[in-house]
């Protein structure tokens, strides 16, 4: 038996009228209509998604600015590393693509589009699904993809009711006709996930609101106490110790040996900073802050230290430890005997060190990170990694003093002097790079993310299934609908239909295609 011409009905919105199809009379509302129609157009939305995909891909061709080494200006870096393509990349601003106004603009437009398209379709769909008639028109029944028709009796239809109920369908009856439905809420999945998405991105954008977000990198030396600017210096952090542990190829279980050898350099096993948190409670007489300990603990990678809305992350550490003190002996080179010794606290070096009667050491100049530039001694950075000093040693024999430039394995001008500075010992401190963060937008992201996932799962894993059955003049008409997973609908329905002696559902779309190709 050949089916009559199959005219499928677009079931996406249950034939409801969408706001975007409305055309108003007055010119203002017509403009609004147009804007509305623009943003609720799926075509526009898909263009936006396509453009975002393209732009994001471009953003990964070369590393973004935040991932390049800091020691060169970006313009130079991109050219040097990637040639003229790199220069072009930089010139077009792609090195900061994800912060560019146009990328953020695209995301904003996408969000607008999602919001408007969802409003446009949700309400009509909701209304249509809320009040569904049990008895549908013939055009509607024949327009469903799944259906069947056969001579049958009212008893057979009645017999379907308990069978479908057992499968979880809600069954409604009217004048002998039957309407069975399940998992209607699955239809709302896309709207729920769109809302979650908007909440998520909206939450992320809240970061620009003052007070919602704080982010600070603190380089903290062992033993030092520094204010946390992100808390308006209300809190201070002290590092009691920084512990760094490497995998030791000799000690580690044999299984890691090969990998450690391949790696060549040291592989860190763990690093953590032992912290003390202080709150500033006032000012001391000497003008220094009065601090009270609030909390102590440690921060390591993957286990931040938390206080209030803040978290302290163990982010990095300085590869070289810094010097915190250096001791020197003042040697009389003629006798080879030390006269006295001094200890210089590098965090707070004094200008003069008084020694025993008649002797004095003056610190004329100090270079924390010593280099010679154009023949002149200088410092590369403020970090205490390669200290050098210009000393002037006054002694009874040399009341004006003898000068020398002293650094690590270096003593310029000291050989001819009678008195010389000689290293006697050093103390080091490790420096830990701590990231202090406050992000009050996170709850929005959690909620948004959960709603998004819930919507996604509801929409994808709970297909909406419906069945309409009615009889007319001894002819039973059956129509079936599902928005996903046709196979399961057919299985469920056919099971019930055959049990009462009715024919199985046909896939009319397939029949039509086969008719066309035959």
């Amino acid at each position: 038996m050949m089916q009559k011409e199959f005219k499928p009905i677009d079931m996406r919105y249950e034939e409801a009228e969408l706001r975007s199809n409305r055309r108003s009379r007055s010119s203002i509302s017509r403009t609004i209509d147009r804007v509305w129609a623009f943003f609720s157009s799926v075509k526009v939305g898909l263009w936006l998604i396509g453009l975002i995909i393209l732009a994001s891909g471009v953003g990964t061709i070369f590393p973004q600015e935040m991932y390049i080494p800091q020691n060169l200006p970006p313009a130079e870096y991109y050219q040097k590393e990637y040639g003229s393509a790199g220069l072009l990349y930089y010139t077009l601003g792609f090195h900061r693509l994800f912060e560019s106004w146009w990328y953020i603009g695209l995301i904003t437009l996408l969000l607008l589009s999602i919001i408007i398209v969802s409003i446009d379709r949700f309400f009509p769909l909701y209304r249509a699904l809320k009040k569904q008639p049990v008895i549908r028109t013939k055009r509607f029944m024949d327009g469903q993809r799944f259906g069947a028709s056969a001579s049958g009796s009212q008893d057979q239809i009645d017999g379907l009711e308990p069978l479908l109920k057992k499968k979880g369908y809600k069954v409604k009856r009217k004048d002998g006709a039957l309407f069975a439905e399940k998992q209607r809420f699955g239809r709302y999945g896309p709207y729920i996930n769109h809302i979650g998405l908007v909440l998520f991105f909206g939450g992320a954008m809240l970061r620009v609101v003052p007070g919602m977000h704080a982010d600070e990198l603190i380089w903290l030396r062992e033993g030092d106490t520094l204010p946390i600017q992100a808390t308006d210096s209300q809190y201070y952090l002290k590092s009691d110790a920084f512990n760094l542990e490497f995998y030791d190829p000799k000690k580690e279980n044999a299984k890691f040996q090969e990998a450690l050898e391949r790696a060549g350099s040291n592989v860190p096993k763990n690093y953590e900073t032992e912290l003390r948190l202080y709150e500033r409670t006032g000012t001391l007489e000497n003008g220094k802050p009065k601090l009270e300990e609030v909390k102590s603990g440690s921060t390591e990678v993957n286990h931040p230290f938390t206080f209030g809305d803040y978290q302290v992350f163990q982010e990095q550490y300085a590869s070289e430890p810094e010097f915190i003190s250096m001791s020197f002996d003042i040697m009389n080179q003629k006798t080879g005997k030390p006269v006295d010794s001094i200890k210089i606290d590098l965090r707070d070096p004094k200008q003069e060190y008084d020694l025993k009667e008649g002797y004095k050491v003056e610190l004329i100049d100090f270079f924390p990170d010593f280099v010679v530039e154009d023949g002149v001694p200088n410092t590369k950075s403020a970090r205490l990694i390669n200290p050098a000093y210009v000393f002037n040693i006054t002694s009874p024999e040399h009341p004006k003093g003898e000068r020398s430039l002293v650094g690590i394995r270096m003593n310029v001008g000291g050989d001819d002097n009678q008195y010389a500075m000689e290293f006697a010992g050093t103390e080091f401190a490790d420096i830990s790079g701590l990231r202090v963060k406050k992000d009050l937008t996170l709850p929005f992201l959690y909620v948004g993310g959960i709603i998004f996932m819930a919507g996604l799962i509801i929409g994808m894993y709970w297909p909406h299934r419906r069945l309409w059955v009615r009889s007319e003049n001894g002819q039973v008409e059956i129509a079936g609908y599902t928005n996903k997973n046709a196979l399961a609908l057919q299985k469920e329905a056919n099971h019930a239909l055959t049990a009462v002696g009715l024919p199985e559902l046909e896939d009319r779309q397939k029949l039509r295609e086969e008719g066309e190709t035959a």
Partner: protein, 388 residues
């Protein structure tokens, strides 16, 4: 026998079982219609192979002391396992042997590809010592594995729907897809071969920033760095300017050359027709609607899993390990692109009626995006995630 070598043996066993399973799927699809015994055998073998691979996974976990998903070798192997898992699920629903004939070889290819990376267990750096890492990586791989099933059906759809006697874009592009797959086979072949005969070379050169660097080659050197000094092994055939990574290019060249040779032999000597066309009699056994439907369902099931693992869990981990849930790192960006690509597919399909051929091309493209993220982004684009 210790756990790690037991683990290695289990992986080998599973690999062999997958191979035999593929052969049985081939038998099952070559016979006439009807439920075949060989189909059932093929499925059982795949299932046992999968269990053996689970054995590999957990014994390696026990042996190493951490979940084996922390470097390229482990991750890629796991991804192959999840592809098999995805296929087993879909097979359970649709009982389609033809699908096995495509999905199993692709999974085999992925696992064989994994074996090209250093396979010793590695100690974990602090950032990787997190439960969220395990959750993130395993869930993401599961999602990708399920999505890969849609690639297999998409490919079958295209082969079925294409008329190979006429020139068309589909015909050309399908051949390109198969050529790419064959290049992967070629890469694995030459890789194993050169490993066996031992053709390592080391070349020292001066990099852009003035530092002295070394390239370690495992294949004969076709392209070397400009002014390179051979420390061991053979010298370069051609020297290239320094902004090109001569070592990676060398690998790509070998893959292309071996792929090309293999392709020419298959195409002009063995089959004497297009590779895609040789699959046509098999592809015809799955009807177009079924292929289309399986593709869509695989995406409908796989995408939420992928988003959960590859984006949401990833963000939770990144927040703990690096104090920021999102950092526009290339790997992250490509995970976002993967999601958007499949979202694009879903909307195109539902809202703009892209079913059939167009939709099949989209899922093939989606798999390309996944593989791009797995291989290219890890090996070529540097970032926080480049393990190797």
């Amino acid at each position: 026998m210790n756990l790690l070598s037991l683990s290695g043996n289990l992986l080998l066993v599973s690999f062999i079982l997958y191979l035999i399973s593929t052969a049985f799927f081939a038998v099952a699809t070559s016979g006439k219609k009807g439920p075949s015994k060989s189909g059932r055998i093929a499925f059982s073998l795949a299932l046992i192979g999968f269990i053996a691979q689970l054995g590999y996974f957990f014994t390696r976990w026990a042996g190493a002391g951490h979940a084996p998903v922390s470097n390229l070798y482990e991750y890629t192997t796991f991804f192959g396992m999840m592809m098999v898992f995805g296929f087993l699920i879909v097979y359970g629903i649709y009982r389609n042997n033809v699908l096995g004939l495509i999905a199993m070889p692709v999974a085999l290819l992925v696992i064989a590809y994994a074996s090209m990376f250093p396979d010793e267990v590695q100690p974990l750096i602090p950032a990787l010592q997190s439960v969220w890492l395990k959750i993130h990586v395993t869930t993401a791989a599961l999602g990708e594995g399920i999505l890969a099933v849609s690639f297999a059906t998409g490919l079958l759809y295209l082969v079925h729907a294409t008329d190979f006697s006429k020139e068309s874009k589909t015909r050309t592009w399908l051949e390109i897809v198969f050529f790419t797959l064959i290049c992967v086979v070629g890469y694995i072949f030459v890789g194993l071969m050169f490993k066996a005969i031992g053709s390592d070379s080391t070349i020292e050169y001066v990099a852009k920033n003035g530092a002295t660097m070394k390239h370690e080659y495992s294949m004969p050197v076709l392209t070397g760095p400009e002014g390179g000094k051979v420390l061991s092994g053979s010298g370069a055939f051609v020297e290239l300017p320094n902004y090109i990574n001569a070592n990676k290019l060398n690998t790509v060249l070998w893959s292309l050359i071996s792929g090309l040779i293999l392709y020419v032999v298959l195409r002009f000597v063995v089959f004497r027709k297009r590779i895609a066309e040789t699959l046509k009699p098999i592809a015809r056994k799955i009807d177009l609607d079924t292929a289309d439907e399986i593709s869509y369902r695989a995406v409908a099931i796989g995408l939420p899993v992928f988003i959960l693992g590859g984006l949401i869990f990833a963000m939770i981990w990144a927040q703990m390990a690096w104090s920021r849930y999102w950092g526009w790192d290339p790997k992250e960006v490509w995970a976002l692109i993967t999601m958007l690509f499949y979202v694009f597919y879903l909307h195109m399909r539902i809202q703009r009626g892209w079913v059939g051929k167009k939709s099949a091309w989209l899922v093939v493209g989606g798999f390309a995006v996944i593989m791009f993220n797995l291989i290219f982004v890890n090996l070529v684009v540097a970032g926080l995630h480049s393990y190797a």
